[in-house]
Symmetry: C2
Subunit: 417 residues, 2 copies
């Protein structure tokens, strides 16, 4: 197969479909989402058979257990995909919304209209449910999509793609609105990220290595998520009970997630009061502590090295640093954090105002666990990912992050003098 | 000079200044803008002397007249820079604005806060006024800036930079909030566009060649403006008098600007009624016409080739095509336009609704001249450029386009269960 011409054909077809989707009515898009859900339900056996083929190939090639688990589909997971489709259908359609339409001194009206981005390329690893989740968000936001899943899930993804095409056709929308790349050749990714004429934005989902490689080589804008090195800062003026439960929740609620706390900062004046009880709770939860010297003077812990301030452990490990106060906390976060999510625990309005304004991260919180940084918790309904970029979409990216705004101007024969 | 370490030092200093500027109060930023204006006024002679040195070097090296004109400063142009600074000071400060702060079912409040992008790199050609315009917009939006102007303007830019530093210092803001690159070595640009750790976004201003080179090599997001291949479509249902004045204004008001019309599309049913009078008016204005076959059957014109549909003439030349109606007009625009600005002339609500929704350009207009696509006309107060990108900022980019939004979360000890 000539990968380059194959990918360019997908690109051309996606561009043509996206032109149609720009003007597609909300009703038709919702019909398609429901029809895809129906197709998944009716052809459940076919999808599960395809998944069995992937699992068998995965076992034969010695795939590790965690990857096999991500790859596996079962009735519950197909039901979850169907629920997801119905939830996306129920979300408000952002496309076409006109805002700030004001008269200007010249007599023209100027406003903004929310519009799809066009064609979105999604590159992801082995979870087949991403195929449905990503396709549904892109469809609802009026975009065409080219999906490139992991090679381990190729049969599952093709079976799901078949259900998606069925649903699109049933709603009278172009089948090529959602296309799944039908080759496991890695060159397909290289092509995808260098076709700005056909693809408007790339959303990679997967490990940091994958995302860094894609960002380095892409000639198309990338909405990316790198690390989640998240912080909780316990301020001088913290309520220590709130501090205790937030610091515990942010670390121990789930370990392998990007919005888990990785470094705890504690103001010097409350460290002796706050840390011992926390250390005991962390010990009970089996969390390894790595503290600065001042921390080590207060609780039992391993010594923290410079690396600990920049590491996303995704594991029951926590770095702890005692800081002089708010200034040092903000400076530490702005220097070492991955600009994902940070929390201050304080009862002081002034400290919270400064923390909210001066911490340069995609989510900044007061008296709440970092674990809330999530599209569902924020009311986006669903998310395609969490962006650690600063331009376009920051933080959890839902339907609105898959759109842009164009200017609209209304006149009645107006010319410029 | 070791360009790499020099540029990295500028980058580090800019990053440090940007941390300070994130929390800078509106009053301090406005004070700085006024103080820069004062410094330019008081040190006018020094700036004009420096400019004379640039002009002399330009004449000696055989710079063409148009470039010398762009390079030249005089009292009127310095007054215009001072006015510009005062206008930017008078604009509302977008930074810190909190929107959509709503309670979620979990009890947390979730909203968005508008924040500076951080450090903005501006790469431009020989106009020294860009130094002040770009610096003032970046400063007001709370960003630090690294400015790299054309080598022809190096003395002028350093003199202006000196006034900017004076103004920043007078307002108690870091002088390194605005830094002008002090070398004409081209390697400085190569460094600027590959320091994502210090520069958050690059805004190139200049010819298409410069912008394409920068975009191809950048490892930092680029807000770019490529061509303005703008269209006016005269619909079946157009008021032909409005069509006449809009089509004339869009082409002849100014030729060398990106929002001038380059191709006129006319619905077949009104072509015979509209084109002869327009052809006469264009002939009087000295505009060369290049028409499709159907156009050539109605008026005197040269033949249009495929190239004419994609060319930004920036000159008294106009391509004309007769189309069957709205569908062909939208398809032609979405295929050939540079996604800058397009207008429909029509009295029909249905046609205008479809055109507004389905034309994929940064500005889409009804019954108004394309010449209105401009930051001042849109009420942005000033613009750093017009973006033909689809992500982040589209169309005229003012203060808001130099900012992003982060999520803020307010709780009272809330944890996730």
């Amino acid at each position: 197969m000539d990968i380059k011409s194959y990918m360019r054909t997908l690109g051309q077809q996606a561009r043509a479909a996206s032109r149609h989707m720009m003007g597609a009515e909300t009703g038709a898009k919702n019909d398609a989402l429901h029809a895809i859900a129906d197709a998944l339900h009716q052809r459940r056996a076919m999808v599960l058979d395809a998944n069995q083929a992937d699992l068998k190939a995965g076992i034969d090639s010695g795939l590790e257990a965690a990857l096999l688990d991500r790859l596996e589909l079962n009735d519950a997971r197909i039901d979850a995909m169907i629920d997801g489709l119905q939830q996306v259908a129920a979300l408000p359609d952002p496309v076409g919304a006109i805002s700030e339409l004001d008269y200007r001194p010249s007599g023209i009206q100027v406003g903004k209209m929310r519009v799809p981005l066009g064609v979105i390329g999604i590159i992801y690893e082995s979870r087949p449910n991403v195929t449905v989740d990503a396709a549904s968000l892109c469809l609802k936001s009026g975009n065409a999509t080219i999906l490139r899943g992991g090679k381990e899930a190729v049969y599952s993804n093709q079976a799901i793609a078949d259900c998606i095409r069925t649903g699109l056709a049933a709603a009278g929308l172009p089948e090529q609105t959602v296309q799944v790349v039908d080759t496991t050749d890695r060159e397909a990714v290289g092509q995808m990220i260098t076709m700005p004429e056909y693809i408007d934005v790339i959303v990679p989902r997967g490990g940091k290595g994958l995302i860094e490689r894609i960002s380095a080589d892409a000639r198309v804008p990338v909405i990316k998520h790198l690390d989640g090195n998240c912080h909780v800062y316990i301020d001088d003026k913290a309520d220590l009970q709130k501090a205790h439960s937030i610091a515990l929740n942010a670390k121990t609620h789930r370990y392998g997630v990007c919005n888990a706390m990785e470094t705890l900062l504690v103001a010097e004046s409350v460290a002796a009061a706050a840390l011992p009880a926390l250390a005991e709770a962390y010990a009970n939860a089996g969390v390894e502590l790595r503290g600065c010297e001042k921390t080590a003077a207060l609780i039992e812990c391993n010594g923290a090295s410079g690396d600990d301030w920049v590491t996303e452990y995704l594991a029951p490990i926590l770095a702890i640093k005692v800081v002089t106060g708010l200034d040092e906390a903000i400076a530490h976060i702005n220097r070492y954090s991955s600009q994902h999510t940070e929390t201050i625990v304080t009862e002081d309005i002034g400290s919270s105002r400064r923390f909210l304004r001066e911490v340069d991260s995609s989510s900044v919180m007061v008296n709440a666990s970092t674990r809330f940084a999530d599209g569902f918790e924020y009311g986006l309904g669903a998310e395609i990912g969490i962006s650690t970029d600063k331009i376009h979409a920051r933080g959890p990216v839902g339907l609105e992050g898959l759109t842009s705004q164009k200017w609209i101007v209304l006149g009645d024969g107006h010319i410029r003098n």
